[in-house]
Symmetry: D2
Subunit: 161 residues, 4 copies
């Protein structure tokens, strides 16, 4: 079992820079978190961009699609900001034979209390047993990407009405 | 989506008691961890026993089987010590229509660095998409329970030869 | 031994709000951190304001001075943003018989890795053995407040040249 | 400012070994914790032994005394198990011109929730401002070592009656 992880930024990777009193997106956390979890599958991490997903453009999404299409692996995990996760997922439609799972977190992985570890685990658990398609794993749930939306007021994902 | 969680003890729930300089199994951690992860599925936690799995008896396993059989839910998550997880799993064979996933951890959930959160997430991600059967989710992998064993020297689960 | 803690905001208390993708100053962390550390001295926490110290005004500092002067306790701990900690400290000169120690942190207490716990401990350790005066406890050092400055490029406190 | 740290074991350094289902004393944590706290004083860590303090012998204490006496530094920090901290402290009486502070923790530093960081900070804060003597820094308090005892039922240090 081998997974290719594309990291694109988002809250999961945010870090605090005291010098500027700002939070910015730092190095991808998925590799250290997988190591902490002592995972035994093969994985490679490919950092595509480091963006807050509110700032992602159509061109950014085209780049992500190209990279995913070019990946030799069938199993694709994408870490992504939550605010436009569904938009990027929609842009990956039509890539045959890929299982693609998006995840991220509402609190940075660098926080003591965070949903990052559970979300990553949930994404990986689903990725290896799902049929080809595009999914979002958030809040302990796994949704087909086209059937879910973020409830921003509640900071959680819900099925579309 | 609703999950019934049976907790049986194991390293995942270990706590340190200074007064006796010993580590013992404390309150189940799965509820607090699900809350930290902001999960949106329904779940109920049922503590069956608090044992190191090396000390589990046949009678203990009979009790676990009774409880699982009596559960109204289809989706069953069992937290369990890793050393005899496969033995208990073998005792649950033949319960129709249940998806049963075992998980646990090699380092206690109360540690700063632990595989507990990722393992729980992985178990939940797989539980909701797998067909009925008995599975073990450890090391970021999901295995049919009858096809895996613990490599104790390496503290990890591997496919049976 | 009894300590009055005045909290004024600063990075130590920062929290992340997903709904707005912003970091803001949340509830004071000193009480939970003292509880985690199992401290046995008496303390009371008084929240004066919740500000990034770059936004503190002369009026804010006048309020802090009033509150400290009115405190019945001799031992005063003030948590404060690091950028203008020395300015506020300078405004407390001339309060007789008080031992006043400022502390804070460069990474939020809610982060997994943070200087907050060590800084708070250092401040408390010094507070109970120092003579009356105004001090800053940061980076594991205790300085008379008038003899230290923040090196912002390095995010640390250093003796004035 | 330069500190010599002698590590002797104790709960502060305990780690969990899954292969044996036991907790043992691991590598000293004081160095990593000081690094996390971004301390700016010089320090050197000298590991003397790795023992649960209940297992310390008179010979062990003689070794600790020799090492402290031989240290070129005036400021000495000793991390030690809490159960016999006061016995070891009593054996260091009569070393001239040294400020010696003992600390440790009731929960291992590797736990998410632990008193280790606050205790280390408290010890360091006191160490640099105290006159020569032997002290114990625990529970946010700093005591002359001869005037304190551990209340084992409550897992905390208290003044001697």
């Amino acid at each position: 079992m081998r997974i290719r992880v594309f990291t694109t930024g988002g809250t999961i990777d945010k870090v605090y820079f005291d010098a500027a009193s700002t939070y910015e997106i730092g190095d991808p956390q998925v590799g250290p978190l997988f190591k902490e979890a002592n995972v035994t599958f093969d994985f490679v991490v490919e950092s595509v961009m480091q963006k807050d997903s509110l700032h992602m453009t159509d061109d950014d999404r085209a780049v992500i699609r190209e990279r995913v299409a070019a990946a030799p692996e069938k199993l694709i995990l994408i870490t992504h900001g939550t605010d436009t996760m569904t938009e990027t997922a929609a842009r990956l439609a039509g890539l045959p034979d890929k299982v693609i799972v998006f995840t991220g977190s509402v609190l940075p992985a660098r926080f003591r209390q965070s949903d990052a570890r559970c979300n990553l685990g949930c994404a990986v658990g689903a990725l290896q047993v799902l049929p080809p398609g595009i999914y979002i794993a958030m809040n302990g749930r796994v949704f087909p990407a086209s059937q879910v939306k973020k409830n921003r007021a509640q900071s959680r994902f819900e099925p579309k009405a």
